[in-house]
């Protein structure tokens, strides 16, 4: 295994961080403290964490509306993330972005984006910058199975392949775009089958297995850094919760059967990773328990931080609009 104990534990820590963070968000939402939409990443943690474990701080990522897992996986600060979701001044975007727009440029998080597929060209452009300026970073973009049908993906993949850009297209195939099965929206069996249309490798990976995702991403990152161009990875995963908090109209069982959900939940990425670590002797039960406990404390702290952070002032309203004001 390419990963050592410390890395595997850090991956587990980040997966737990995402899981508990999302659980906290759901709780906060149900209390009415959070009004806007928020899209839980629960069930998909291994994708973001496996992918980001293959990246450096200087590498860039961009994401989408299902937006809490990616930045946390990249090493984002849960305090500032939670504060942002509550619209507080201590948040990543000073409360201006909210759940769908977390960003931390200082560690390469170029931002989550609410318009489906709209960050795919952005990430491609980041890779273009790396190439043109000969900076040694790669760029990775998370997008869904639904997003893969947008023209923006086609255009980006074609450009990236033409120009051998150091970008990884990471499709999180969780089976659905809101209520629409990917089988009814993608005209081939797999999104990764489309890679051949661009002349880049297409890799299908078990998105519930962080180690497998890490491995696939590492190879893509190696290619990218070596100037060999982009890779399309499709990680098969599953969303455990409803599409979005606040979209009560869509109960999960109406467009996907309870059996399907139950079946999918048997392959929970957290226990899978935990067991892999223990089985291969990288960590003990106690060490895993300790991580979980630590992260619980951390997330409690994040909620407290967020709650204590003040709302932005009316006087802040016009700030951050322009580099040189109009």
């Amino acid at each position: 295994m390419a990963l050592d104990k410390q890395q595997l534990e850090e991956m587990y820590r980040r997966m737990c961080r995402i899981r508990y963070f999302e659980e906290a968000v759901i709780e906060i939402h149900s209390s009415g403290e959070l009004i806007g939409p928020a899209h839980p990443y629960i069930g998909e943690e291994a994708v973001a964490v496996g992918a980001c474990a293959a990246l450096r701080d200087s590498d860039r990522i961009a994401g989408n509306h299902r937006s809490h897992g990616h930045p946390i996986a990249k090493g984002g600060d849960v305090n500032r993330a939670m504060a942002e979701i509550l619209g507080k001044s201590g948040g990543y975007c000073k409360g201006k972005g909210g759940s769908m727009h977390l960003a931390d440029f200082s560690i390469g998080i170029l931002g989550e984006s609410g318009i489906v597929a709209s960050s795919v060209p952005i990430a491609t452009g980041a890779a273009l910058a790396a190439k043109l300026s000969k900076q040694d970073f790669v760029s990775l973009v998370f997008f869904g199975d639904g997003a893969s049908n947008q023209g923006a993906c086609h255009e980006s993949m074609n450009m990236a392949a033409l120009w051998d850009l150091p970008v990884i297209f990471m499709c999180e195939n969780n089976g659905y775009a809101i209520t629409t099965s990917y089988k009814n929206s993608v005209s081939v069996d797999h999104v990764s089958d489309r890679a051949s249309a661009y002349g880049m490798p297409g890799v299908l990976v078990d998105g519930q297995d962080a180690i497998a995702v890490h491995e696939a991403t590492s190879e893509a990152v190696r290619r990218a850094r070596a100037g060999e161009g982009p890779t399309l990875i499709e990680a098969m995963t599953y969303r455990y919760e409803d599409h979005s908090l606040g979209l009560d109209r869509i109960r999960k069982s109406e467009y996907r059967s309870q059996e399907e959900v139950d079946e999918a939940m048997k392959r929970d990425p957290l226990p899978i990773h935990r067991e892999a670590m223990i089985t291969h002797g990288f960590a003990t039960e106690a060490e895993c328990d300790a991580i979980e406990a630590e992260v619980h404390t951390e997330i409690d702290g994040a909620v407290e931080f967020a709650r204590n952070s003040p709302f932005p002032e009316p006087g802040d309203l016009f700030d951050d609009m322009w580099a040189t004001p109009v």
Binding site: L34, I35, G36, P37, E84, G87, K88, C93, G95, K96, G97, G98, S99, M100, H101, S113, G114, I115, V116, A117, S118, G146, A147, N149, Q150, G151, A177, I178, T179, T180, N184, S185, V186, L247, R249, I250, E254, Y255, F311, P312, E313, P314, D316, L317, F318, M321
Partner: protein, 327 residues
């Protein structure tokens, strides 16, 4: 008369038009599960062929709707203001231009139902109020119902119209209720509201307030407060922006001499700007005071509940504007 919500009115109009005309069908994302609430039960009633769930491809399926309309179909497309940007090329280059460009050969009976989310913490990517953009691109009819009655009547008119119609469903009005007659209460057996005919919501003599979409309710609320002070407000709802019933606005200004316009869009090049410009040209001699525009601040929509409400028009801002014109 029964009261109905705006969204119920839209749903009723959809069902009635689909029943009336076999060429009417709906397409969009997640319609069968009625994600945005207006298409519940449609698939059971009309079958999957007439309730198409599309892939996430706004430019593609907007264009497909336009293409289908050229061949005898009458699509109703559901989408959201912010996703119009994605499908902009088909809307503008094809939707707004084909008819003229082809010397009148193209009939384009497509109705785009465009949910206009704002003021609910959806942040900059999901809070666009972009009808003014389409006012500058000739060839599209723009419908902005402020209430359930108009929503139903205008929607039915839109579906029967042979031009591309964008019907903006105001997100803050969407659950509001108004009286909407059942068909058997109506002399013609159905509710049709014509395009280009403003509604005078209330008559008054001191000042005219033109409200657009969700702005109408702010106008009404402001008028109530002002009435208590003895100020008589005339409230006008243009209902459609293209065509725009400028005569009704000019007539009202001729009577009151004062004009406030309430528009949830961003202020620059808004519908309010256009109306102000029209009155500055054609109603100038009637004006006894500066026009006042109450529109959204010229910045993106912030997420925080502490900031977002500050950018939109409110009854308080409308009242303040009325005080300026009466000063």
């Amino acid at each position: 008369m029964p009261t109905k919500t705006y969204i119920q009115a839209i749903a009723e109009a959809t069902i009635e038009e689909m029943e009336r005309d076999q060429t009417v069908f709906t397409m969009g994302e997640d319609l069968r599960q009625s994600v945005y609430g207006a298409t519940a039960g449609l698939v059971d009633r009309f079958g999957e062929d007439r309730v198409l769930d599309t892939p996430l491809s706004e430019n593609g399926f907007f264009g497909a709707a336009l293409g289908a309309s050229l061949c005898g179909m009458r699509p109703i497309v559901e989408t959201v203001t912010s996703f119009l940007w994605v499908g902009m090329d088909q809307l503008v280059s094809q939707g707004s231009k084909m008819r003229y460009m082809f010397g009148g050969q193209a009939e384009l009976p497509v109705t785009f139902r465009v949910r206009m989310f704002y003021a609910r913490g959806a942040a900059a990517h999901h809070s666009d109020r972009n009808y003014p953009v389409f006012m500058n691109t000739p060839g599209i009819k723009i419908i902005c119902p402020s209430n359930a009655y108009d929503a139903k009547g205008l929607m039915k008119t839109a579906v029967r119209d042979n031009d591309v119609c964008l019907l903006f469903e105001d997100g803050i009005a969407i659950s509001s209720r108004t009286e909407v007659p059942d068909n058997d209460e109506l002399p013609d057996g159905e509710l049709l509201v014509p395009f280009g005919v403003a509604r005078t919501v209330q008559t008054g003599s001191d000042v005219t307030i033109v409200g657009i979409a969700g702005g109408v309710q702010h106008a009404i609320d402001a008028a109530k407060v002002l009435a208590a002070e003895g100020i008589s407000v005339e409230v006008i709802d243009p209902r459609t922006l293209v065509p725009l019933d400028k005569e009704s606005i000019l007539k009202s200004v001729a009577k009151t001499g004062r004009l406030v316009i309430v528009d949830p869009a961003h202020k620059m090049c808004s519908a309010a700007s256009e109306i102000a410009a029209i009155v500055a040209q054609e109603g100038f001699w009637d004006l006894q005071a500066p026009v006042q525009v109450v529109a959204s601040e010229q910045i993106n929509v912030p997420y925080s509940p502490a900031l977002e409400p500050l950018i939109y028009p409110t009854p308080e801002k409308v009242i303040a504007a009325v005080r300026v014109v009466l000063d």
